[in-house]
């Protein structure tokens, strides 16, 4: 294709994004270095020199990582199974996987309260079969928060993965088996690396999603705070958009670093991905 044609195709979208997102975002980021008319990095210093903030940041990252990891662990086999089914079943399963996305995050969080609460289904069940004597405290713990987020983001992971898995030549797994790989080993050394592009997209969606999620942690988590809490507090309650932008910039930078690391890891798994 001619270069001119290429650019003609790219330009509308590119211009649109540049004008309506990239420039504004850069100006917002830029504004974090100018406070009251002067160049400053005070916001960053304040944020990053505060051990408490760093701790929250750490916890948030940890939660996001665990969420992403669990989504991968749950999503991968599921997506693989879906990709192996016949076209019709595949359609139905994908549709079912998409269904949770139709329900607002709040409603979903509330339904998890019904499940995880003291009088919730899980406790009723465990009490019923006599496994426990006192209801377990699950709701309002980091675990509940993560369960909620996994439920929120798992469909995105599944869909991203099914997309790439469908296009993997079935002979490859057989080739690896004929060379002596067990099903598991073949899966790990062939299918997993080849899924890397989907894995990356899925992980980015889940990771960024859980990094910035606010409602679900608020509803399902207990007193645990996440970095998004501060972003919201500064933005919405305190109306301190300077600090909010600083936090956001830090979050964006973290996201880019994480994605960079993920890409690096991915390249190790699959240099062609």
């Amino acid at each position: 294709m001619k270069k001119v044609h290429l650019w003609l195709l790219l330009l509308p979208g590119l211009l649109f994004l540049t004008i309506f997102m990239i420039i504004p975002i850069f100006m917002t980021i830029g504004s974090t270095f100018y406070h009251e008319g002067e160049f400053t990095v005070d916001g960053y210093v304040k944020l990053l020199s505060d051990p408490y903030m760093l701790k929250i940041l750490g916890t948030t990252l940890q939660v996001s990582f665990v969420t992403t990891l669990v989504c991968i662990l749950l999503g991968f086999p599921t997506a693989y199974y879906i990709s192996k089914t016949k076209a019709r079943t595949k359609g139905i399963l994908l549709m079912l996987a998409l269904f949770p996305l139709l329900t607002s995050a709040i409603v979903r969080s509330f339904s998890w309260m019904v499940i995880l609460g003291k009088n919730g289904l899980v406790n009723q069940f465990l009490l019923g079969i006599g496994l426990i004597d006192d209801p377990l405290k699950i709701l309002y713990t980091p675990t509940a928060m993560m369960i909620g987020m996994i439920h929120l983001f798992l469909p995105l992971m599944i869909i991203s993965l099914v997309g790439v898995m469908e296009n993997i030549d079935g002979d490859l797994l057989q080739a690896s088996e004929s060379l002596g790989a067990s099903r598991w080993k073949g899966f790990m050394s062939i299918i997993v690396p080849l899924c890397v592009p989907g894995l990356i997209v899925g992980s980015i969606l889940v990771f960024v999603g859980s990094l910035t999620a606010y409602t679900t942690p608020q509803l399902l988590g207990g007193k645990q705070r996440v970095i998004a809490t501060f972003l919201y507090q500064n933005a919405m309650t305190l109306n301190d958009w300077y600090m909010a932008s600083v936090i956001a910039t830090v979050m964006i930078v973290i996201t880019f670093i994480i994605i960079g690391l993920m890409n690096r890891l991915a390249r190790k798994l699959n240099p062609k991905g």
Binding site: F20, T28, G91, L156, I159, I252
Partner: protein, 262 residues
């Protein structure tokens, strides 16, 4: 093949129970009598469904949300598909960079994007609220369109396009008669994901709503600020039914395997 996948089938079943279980609870409570989420629900009543139609704002915001999601999707397709095509077919320097630019909207925390857009679109450019809302949602949808459609494009053999051209089809004709039908599954997936993303969005919409213009998720959020009765569960159920019907319709119209090629 079948027995070998039995463990996997079981695992998948469990994952689906995890995914869909909460939805069952939502469906259950939406028919319950009590105004608090209870499961199993007590009594049976359709009052929450009735309530949806009694509050005008639900219908009005639903219309706005649908409008934005559909119109936005269309524009995102018009902007995104050519870009996705160029990115998957072209060989040029900086492709990787452009690729990451096109998915960057996913990477920015929603509130920040919403606020930034409010500051620039509404305040600075003084665009009407509805236009700003639309623009915000297009930005939101673009990465999904480009990523998903792009990946199905790159799996589609370019020689097939060349074949069409050699038979006399122009590039545009080739795209519509040969490429599009074959990336159908990617197209539908992309459109669907983008649609859902827009339909459920709160972060950006919250800043882009104004007098007379609001979206359903915002309305639902406003509603739960004040009440928590199963009305929003009922809305969710209606949305699921609607989507289900839509999917069945797509299936009827486009054949059995609309999600997957072959």
């Amino acid at each position: 093949m079948k027995d070998k996948h039995r463990g996997l089938a079981l695992f998948t079943t469990l994952v689906f129970i995890f995914l869909l279980g909460p939805l069952v609870i939502i469906i259950g409570t939406s028919f319950g009598d009590s105004s608090v989420l209870k499961f199993p629900p007590e009594g049976f009543s359709l009052k929450w469904y009735k309530n949806i139609f009694e509050v005008d704002m639900f219908m009005e915001t639903f219309k706005v949300t649908m409008g934005v999601a559909l119109l936005g999707n269309l524009i995102a397709l018009l902007l995104g598909v050519p870009a996705a095509y160029a990115l998957s077919r072209g060989q040029f320097r900086g492709k990787e960079f452009l690729n990451s630019i096109f998915i960057s909207p996913i990477l920015i925390p929603g509130v920040v994007m919403g606020f930034t857009m409010l500051k620039f679109l509404v305040v600075q450019f003084n665009l009407p609220i509805y236009t700003s809302l639309l623009i915000g949602h297009i930005v939101l949808m673009l990465p999904f369109i480009i990523r998903v459609i792009g990946s199905s494009l790159s799996n589609f053999d370019y020689a097939v396009e060349e074949a069409a051209m050699s038979l006399g089809a122009s590039r545009l004709k080739t795209f519509f008669t040969v490429v599009l039908p074959n990336i159908r599954s990617g197209l539908i997936a992309g459109v669907l994901l983008a649609f859902l993303e827009s339909f459920n969005n709160v972060d950006i919409s919250v800043f882009m709503t104004g007098p007379g213009v609001s979206t359903l998720p915002i309305q639902m959020l406003t509603y739960v600020e004040n009440y928590f009765d199963p009305t929003i569960a009922a809305i969710s159920v209606l949305l699921m039914v609607l989507t289900g019907l839509l999917m069945v319709m797509i299936e009827r119209l486009m054949g059995l395997s609309y999600f997957t090629n072959k």
